[in-house]
Symmetry: C2
Subunit: 374 residues, 2 copies
């Protein structure tokens, strides 16, 4: 945090989390324009960036509001002025529902529910506190995580919610996180068609049963084009699109080997701190600077370099090239394999203007909701 604004990017101390501001702004614009002439709203997932400043930028550019995964994330966002929040994960503990109840008095808040027990507890506490909240039935459309497993169960739960005081049925969530990451455009589309079919059935059954389905939320960076085309969901929860990561890149595009609807804007700059063998060197960015839950990071400066192994604060890199080698002390840029979990390791984004080679530090953005897991 001691770095001066205006420092050349390659002079920053490492490891450091960088945003290429030009590219991020392009990504934000591109996604916003996708939704501009559509009846479908963008509701970006803020678990990716954890920054109220970026959330506000997304809303200024047309987003209807944001998603948060945790109450503490939503508290950070609300305190910083975000007024429309969907809590996209189930909350079933009394102490947390008390916090949700308080939060619901200060912003437009919705919560997903997938079990009558959760709905009843929510209703009871909201009623006691004289607050009220919008509720979405969480339907599993193929992810196999939270959510009721069938449309029948969804309808049955929705009916019960409709009868409970202080909670208002607003519609449903149908998020298939697994589909976002399927490799191959056609394969991804095929698998996602099943999810879309289940969404259609849900709309049909909710309508038939006189249940509110005003809000239909789901989708993401990997499926946004089908989410828009199918016009069943009316909110898309894309998160990663503004940064991208090497895993998303690898899932492939319509015609291309790589998914390039959005460009890489998030990087970790590291330093070569040891060069003990020919074509093998050690960088100062390990598990605590580059998450590895989606594989190792990709070297952006040297195509032939491979991140082969990590420990807490070290990465081991090999280079399969006859070309010129970097030197001890050189900086080296990596694209994270998973943007969300890498961002969650840092306290600040360093925003760079003018590119990753010759650019300068323009702004330091706090990652205010980092570590907000409760």
């Amino acid at each position: 945090m001691s770095e001066q604004i205006g420092t050349p990017v390659r002079d920053l101390q490492t490891p450091v989390l960088l945003i290429d501001l030009d590219v991020m702004e392009e990504n934000l614009k591109k996604m916003a324009s996708n939704f501009q002439n559509s009846l479908i709203n963008l509701r970006p997932h803020s678990k990716t960036h954890k920054s109220p400043l970026i959330a506000k930028k997304q809303i200024e550019m047309g987003a209807i509001g944001i998603c948060c995964q945790k109450v503490s994330e939503a508290e950070v966002m609300q305190e910083d002025g975000i007024e429309n929040i969907l809590l996209s994960s189930e909350i079933v503990s009394p102490a947390k529902i008390e916090r949700v109840s308080f939060l619901s008095k200060n912003c437009d808040l919705m919560l997903v529910v997938d079990h009558i027990q959760g709905a009843e507890l929510l209703s009871k506490i909201m009623e006691k506190n004289e607050s009220d909240i919008g509720v979405l039935v969480d339907i599993d459309v193929g992810q196999g995580r939270c959510g009721v497993r069938t449309v029948d169960e969804a309808v049955s739960l929705a009916k019960k919610i409709d009868e409970l005081p202080s909670i208002n049925l607003r519609g449903f969530q149908a998020y298939n996180g697994k589909a976002q990451h399927i490799e191959g455009f056609n394969e991804r589309e095929k698998k996602y068609r099943n999810s879309i079919t289940m969404m259609e059935e849900s709309v049909y059954e909710f309508k038939k049963n006189g249940l509110n389905f005003d809000v239909r939320t789901g989708g993401g960076t990997g499926t946004w084009n089908w989410d828009l085309d199918s016009e069943i969901l009316n909110e898309v929860q894309a998160g990663s699109y503004l940064f991208m990561d090497s895993h998303y890149r690898s899932i492939g595009g319509r015609q291309e080997q790589f998914y390039e609807d959005f460009q890489a804007s998030l990087f970790v700059l590291s330093t070569i701190i040891s060069f003990p063998e020919d074509k093998k060197f050690i960088i100062d960015a390990g598990h605590k600077s580059l998450s590895s839950d989606s594989g190792f990071a990709s070297c952006y400066d040297i195509e032939e370099a491979t991140y082969i192994s990590a420990s807490d604060e070290h990465g081991i890199i090999t280079v399969d090239s006859l070309g010129p080698m970097p030197k001890l002390g050189d900086s080296l840029l990596f694209q994270p394999s998973h943007c969300d979990t890498t961002i969650n390791l840092f306290d600040y984004f360093y925003g760079i203007r003018g590119g990753m080679e010759k650019g300068f530090l323009e702004v330091i953005l706090p990652i205010s909701a980092r570590g907000m897991v409760q």
Copy 2:
């Protein structure tokens, strides 16, 4: 952070990082007593706990000082009163060496070096600033990460260091991190013998060449018994022993299937937030609460439960049992697979007295050096 001291452990909001204080104190005592009547010193690695309070406790109990992996970690530790620090990873950037130089004026600081370029830069900056620092030659004894690869190279580098102003050759580091984690007691011992042989050769050659080898540092939680027995190293850098994790447990003990020299004192308490299928439920602790770089966490409450998949804030658990199932909303305790990287996700330890079932919150300890990667 809103929790009251005295809250029953199972009433805490989740996910939360817990220390079983009774067990941690036992582990600290046991390791300290191992070193009590020995000429070998314990120099615990603070990258594990990142807490100056715990570091001070280790020193009170006999440790000679601590290790840090990063300058920013060392800065946090020094500011909070730690006076003897080994920076156990190479530093080769001028801006960071300036910080090392400043730090060296305020505490007894040593730094490892594995290349003449690093030694020369260090010497130049220390001389300019009229400071001085102890230097250890970093020797790779089998890990394949940083460090010179042969004893000849070590001697040659040590000689050059000896000639440079403002840096004082103090000995060598010979840390084999890989050996710490080898499964099977006998297999581990066999592999580690090679490292010990290389340490012996280093001592012999340093002595023969009139080079200072007063400090010989390395070793860890997985090899402490051989580090003590062989009496070649005189500092052991154990880090994980006070907490342990499921990965360390799995490497096996002398006679036993599990490594149980030290007991599990670190846990993450989670909540079952969705129970969508028979014998399959979802907890609120995913990649952002339980690191997965060493595999998934282990369920401590239910032996037959398996953590099969994680996303950012969710864990999917299956239970292979005919016994009674937990219920929606129940709390569930997990042992992290890797203590260091899990601790680095949280801002606070919650210290529990009286056990993980019926204990109470006694103290909240800040993880002050969390995220200190520079």
